[in-house]
Symmetry: C2
Amino acid sequence: MDAKEFCEFGKATLAYIADYTENLRDRNVLPSVKPGYLNELLPREAPIKGESWKEVLKDVERVIMPGVSHWNSPHFHAYFPTGNSYPAIIGEIVSAGIGCIGFSWMSSPACTELEVITMNWLGKMLNLPEEFLNCSEGPGGGVIQGSASEATLICLLAAKERSTRRLKEEHPDWNDATIKSKLVAYASDQSNSSVEKAGLLGSMTMRLLPADEKCRLRGSTLLEAMRKDEEAGLVPCYVVATLGTTGTCAYDCLDELGPICNENNVWLHVDAAYAGAALACPEFRHLMPGIKFADSFSFNPHKWMLVNFDCSALWVKNSRYLIDAANVDRVYLAHGHEDKAPDYRHWQIPLGRRFRSLKLWFVMRIYGVEGIQKYIRGSVKLARYFENLVRYDNRFEIVADVTLGLVCFRIKGDNSLTNELLERLTARRQIYVIPATYMGKTIVRFVVCSQNCEEKDVEFAWNEITTQTTEIFKSQIEASAVLEDRSIEIRTIITEKPLENLTDKLLDLEITSTVKNSPTIS
Amino acid sequence: MDAKEFCEFGKATLAYIADYTENLRDRNVLPSVKPGYLNELLPREAPIKGESWKEVLKDVERVIMPGVSHWNSPHFHAYFPTGNSYPAIIGEIVSAGIGCIGFSWMSSPACTELEVITMNWLGKMLNLPEEFLNCSEGPGGGVIQGSASEATLICLLAAKERSTRRLKEEHPDWNDATIKSKLVAYASDQSNSSVEKAGLLGSMTMRLLPADEKCRLRGSTLLEAMRKDEEAGLVPCYVVATLGTTGTCAYDCLDELGPICNENNVWLHVDAAYAGAALACPEFRHLMPGIKFADSFSFNPHKWMLVNFDCSALWVKNSRYLIDAANVDRVYLAHGHEDKAPDYRHWQIPLGRRFRSLKLWFVMRIYGVEGIQKYIRGSVKLARYFENLVRYDNRFEIVADVTLGLVCFRIKGDNSLTNELLERLTARRQIYVIPATYMGKTIVRFVVCSQNCEEKDVEFAWNEITTQTTEIFKSQIEASAVLEDRSIEIRTIITEKPLENLTDKLLDLEITSTVKNSPTIS
């Protein structure tokens, strides 16, 4: 493919993506395919001869799109949002076009330096404590990771390294294996599954402590768990506090957890994957006090800040611990710049890394801080609008405070009602919402995701929800009526011919309300 | 930014990337900036108001390009190649445009299914054993990882899980911590730094065993190390064999290592990050016998198969072990499709994942198998051409067999000569090569990287190398002449005024040949 053909192909692809994005509202948000659908549409082997790009692009619509769950659809209200925007897509093109690997300063200086600078921009926009920034005195700094999962894991490993060194000094007779087997990590039972996974992958016991009635991890709960472990000869090492939990967007009490961690040499990592973006707006900062106590802080611009996946921001107060945990320079031939620029390969799990800061740079410059704030405030406003719609309808109840873009609600009464609602909505594929559990109750999570989501989309979703709810109640009433009729019939049966065939007849009459398995949040 | 502006912005960006790619030959392959250069060119904070996209695009050339090491330049011969091609870039655009997160089948069926299919295509093209493919009976399958580092780490964790389960059955009295502290991993001292890092991050002792004189890990070396560990009460768990080492593109003896691993319940992982792509060509398969013994096999289409970073291919014979190591479904609400489609979130470290198989699909379809073979054969042919040029010049020697796209050579004689050559080449920034060490000797690694590399570029590089070598010899001859002159002078000094000030005078005359620190391979 020559340059001319590339430009034609690219132009057609951009037009396709623009059309896709602008008309996304008209597609069903969920696909209707069955597992294995694509096998029927594609050959079993790669083609021997090259094909025309036109055929390939045509096939994106023909074979791929029928199987896509449209995360950027204005009708997508599941999980938390995945970021996207036109400027980010173009940033991705430039990153791919340059195609450098920035594992050290020398391997592409601009790649490291733009990351340092944009992470400073971002940290300042979020009003993070100075110590986290590269531009401050001291060993703090920011780095782009692939995901919050990796941020949680790499910080767990750094914490492990820090504790191991300290314990070795205090107990010269303990060996590494002994020390590592004593270390314990803590998070709330509301933390994302990636936190538990970090414990598993990083070989550290991860205790998921009970959150309070507001789904927050409290200081007293942590302290009690730590004391218990210490009494058993274990050593508390790492705490992951969540700001904006996946289930209900709850905020662990950092101002209680922080001092406990700091006083006990325990690494405090803050996972603000979704909610962190809201720190760009001063009016939301009160929701998340105590960040100053953290050793590391991460949030995902690729969630709620218009940058497409992947771009997960992580800041640490002391980068030395990360480097100690991951540095394997076997032949140390310094290029002489380590003191002036970070070698980011030591700040992450993989060796290679792409030029992801370009996406951040494009988004921050083209939107500006005001543009980003406007987007976040817009999502929150729509969520409030949805909350009000729910509150006006007596059949529903709001569960957990609505603070940002997530509204948790349910149909009053038995869980089976909400379960049926979820099942119906998923089957109809008009909007996508997912369940969570709150104090034993099934709830629906409704998140404002797409940047193209408008009031009319919230109204569309609400209409879909209420219509289906009405259907549920209607069929319930009908079912009761049937039951009423049948119970007369049963009495007749019993009167006519007691006991004989009774069980069979009753089984025929059973009104089933089996809850089919629904996708769950991870 | 509306759709129209996006298309204009995109069109201008594509034209810029096309122009960059086509004229890359004219740029110095290495930048001349000093650390911190970008700080001088960019503001300290993000702009409050949004800026025009034209300003941003202009700044790519103005501030970013001066700091880029051009990995896709035909003059880039360092490291191993980073893949790139026009079809891959467009695949990236479609992936970003759709912007779905494919952590489970349900979260975007097409994302999982296209990955399954393209990994089958790829595995068949490489002639991998059937057991590795998703389309075979049994629990094997392929998955796209971010990097070979992650593939090595996730397989280490799977191996750890497998061994732990087995040992728990055999020794019900051993606890998890005891078992895990006994497990040992092995690789050659020629393996990539990411292998050692996997041991560090995965908390498993990683022994780097001595390679033979051809830089290969032999079966006898492994067996001896394993026996020694077993005698000390440890348990061999994981072996990483490299096909195509970073230093000299050597191939560990898989047909020796394989049976040892299989017989001893040791997981054998093959890291063929670079060389694996050559398996697409039947004539290179004889270089890498014994893949059938492996439990897992990984190579990077983002290295030598025209796909831009990241796209690292990993196949396992039994995916159950990966899933056991990484699965943290805390509330198991099945969506009922697990048996029919993999939930790839359990096959990797992070939870989120993008639609990377689109890149693979675009490249394989638009190039076809023949196009990919042609590209690989072309690189090998150019490397052979370079090898011949080196062999015809008596001042140089070839070190290690040239099998694919890497040529290792040095100036005959003292290491200082080759060190000076490297230093001069880096300082002149016309071509980029890096050093490695082979049997105590400094060598230059010359890799054919860019898909735009042609004979004329190889000649350009060779001309640069020989010219600088001539300069070195010339200055050496001059230095000897000076030394000759000065030694007469010294004799005069000594004769005239013995001992007095002699040391000072001699120091003045010292001919320094200090080797400055050069970047090293990672």
